[in-house]
């Protein structure tokens, strides 16, 4: 019997989140860890957002999607274009409030740009989904790959239409507005949103598609609609993550969004355990830190060994733990809410044929304490 969270455990969750936020703020403002590592941690969280989206698409819906990087890129470029112009030409509204210095107009536009990036990714996902979501299994995988290539080529040549995107030379000049508080807020929102979605009837409908589509159909679930929904939401997440990424590294190059890069979130999801949010988050962190850690640990001149070692690690994990490190197990507030068993009127023998419960004729006992 799985141990389920009881309903009044929001306090430990809140404390945990405050702890994480507080630690990071403390550590960064005192420069206890270098800017470089702060950036690595932020990029791990950003990757986690994208991977959560892919976990919805692959882990919960069962779609083999190797095109997440395309939507990441769409979110990145869309938001970058908006903030590029606004930061140069938009009005400034500096505010000094309770010791916080910020520019209201820039901040507001940053949020709007992130939203626009996410929405653009979602819209494109919807449009490409119309023809492509009908495909099954491996064919969908191939089509998603193909779509990624198309988007990559478009990014590479986008400077013909929008010169500032600079195509293959890479877009520069994006304002560096992603900071730890924003990354934290969005990661937490993404996580809560996903958790709430999954533990609802909508989530159940989506998971049933992965389990057995025909059986879901005959239960009245419009599987086509929910497949599309999952795909769109997963891509929305990718778009949001892309926007945050763009404003962290301030430089965008199409090769960051080639189909090879779609393998990263996919490997992370499988590595963490497809169909589990906790596994996805943990794997995102582990993966990012392994890659960066190897960069630091390996002696000078051996940095390129990172990409030799990481696939070997992936191979080992798959050979020894094919379900991923955490499988579908969830921890903490990501666990579903516990539901008390309720006993109502029952039919003797016939219905409980084979089960080892004694008969109880007509007892109406909606018990709660178990």
């Amino acid at each position: 019997m799985k141990k389920l969270r009881s309903s009044s455990s929001w306090l430990p969750t809140l404390l945990f989140l405050l702890l994480v936020f507080g630690t990071m703020q403390f550590v960064s403002s005192l420069n206890l860890i270098s800017v470089y590592w702060q950036q690595v941690f932020m990029s791990a969280c950003i990757m986690a957002i994208s991977a959560l989206g892919l976990n919805l698409i692959y882990g919960y819906t069962g779609l083999f999607h190797l095109g997440q990087a395309a939507f990441y890129g769409i979110g990145a470029y869309t938001s970058a274009l908006i903030t590029y112009y606004w930061s140069r030409m938009g009005p400034k509204l500096p505010i000094d409030f309770l010791g916080l210095h910020f520019d209201l107009s820039m901040t507001a536009m940053f949020l709007l740009a992130l939203l626009a990036g996410a929405l653009m990714a979602a819209i494109v996902a919807y449009l490409i989904g119309l023809p492509v979501l009908r495909l099954t299994g491996d064919y969908f995988c191939i089509a998603s790959l193909g779509f990624n290539v198309i988007v990559y080529v478009l990014f590479n040549n986008a400077d013909r239409l929008i010169p500032v995107m600079k195509g293959a030379r890479g877009m520069v000049g994006i304002p560096r507005w992603t900071s730890w508080p924003w990354v934290f807020i969005f990661t937490v929102l993404a996580l809560f949103g996903m958790r709430n979605l999954v533990y609802s009837s909508v989530g159940r409908a989506i998971i049933s598609i992965r389990e057995d589509e025909d059986a879901a159909d005959v239960m009245g679930i419009d599987t086509a609609k929910y497949r599309t929904l999952a795909f769109v939401i997963g891509s929305l997440y990718a778009g949001l993550a892309g926007g945050l990424y763009a404003h962290l590294y301030t430089f965008l190059h199409p090769t960051c969004f080639a189909w090879i890069k779609s393998c990263d979130p996919f490997l992370i999801v499988v590595f963490g355990g497809a169909g589990g949010m906790t596994g996805t988050i943990v794997a995102s962190l582990v993966w990012t830190f392994i890659l960066e850690g190897l960069r630091v640990l390996l002696p000078r001149g051996f940095e390129s060994w990172r990409y030799v070692i990481y696939p070997l690690i992936m191979l080992m994990i798959m050979l020894f733990r094919p379900g991923g490190i955490l499988g579908r197990r969830e921890l903490g507030f990501l666990k579903p809410k516990g539901i008390e068993v309720a006993r109502v009127e029952r039919v003797p023998a016939a219905a409980s044929a084979g089960s080892d419960r004694p008969e109880e004729r007509g007892s109406k006992d909606v018990s709660s304490e178990d």
């Binding site: 799985k2 049933s208 057995d212 009245g220 006993r343 023998a349």
Partner: protein, 261 residues
Amino acid sequence: MSVLKIKKLTKYFGGLRAVHDFDFSIDEGELVGLIGPNGAGKTTIFNMVSEIYPPTAGEIEFMGQSIVGLKPHQVAQLGIGRTFQKIRVFKGMSVLDNVRLAYHPHAGYSIKDAVLHNALFSKREKELTERAQEFLSIFGLEDKQDELCGSLPYGDQHRVEIARALATEPKLLMLDEPTSGMNPREALEMVDLIKFLRDKFKLTIFLIEHRMRVVMGVCERITVIDFGEIIARGEPAEIRNDPKVIEAYLGERMAKELAAA
């Protein structure tokens, strides 16, 4: 009143003729069986009624409305529930979730409500959970509500599948070999269960079954098909004495056993 009316239903898979000119009707409250040798086309007929595959020709009317060309989920929402021959519960979901899914079309809240987990969501979710739990209780599964279906014994999985189909509150319930995999005692208990369910939930039941004692014991009328075509129709007593049925399906020994029973 007629719940399901099928006229000249035909299905070709490429060049292979699976079902041919199948006529059938079932009225409210009836319990009718469909029997025949393996490969006769019984499940294909069920799949066509569920619109999992489209018929090649013929008409299917449910409650007076033609359902050919609808999508399977639309047919289900109109009120046709079914189980499958090979158990197809959602193994990666809990027992409770399997049954709660049945209420999805009437969940009563939107995606926005789900993501926000707001008051409307909580209220509706609680209601549908309680209704699902009532069903689980009927089947004795309430203590296993949080178990993953894949880890349950076969018999329990079967019960979940039936509970799930019932939870969709269908007007017509199509059961595809509900006793498969059960031992004879369990199979006879299933007979009682089917009758009980029919009476309690005012269902119309259309049944595919191989176990002749079950069929004879529970069905009011039986249709027999072989190679996709109807070879006999009528009440159990007529069917078990029908020479065509004996030759194609029952065999002499079974016929004698049933006559003696």
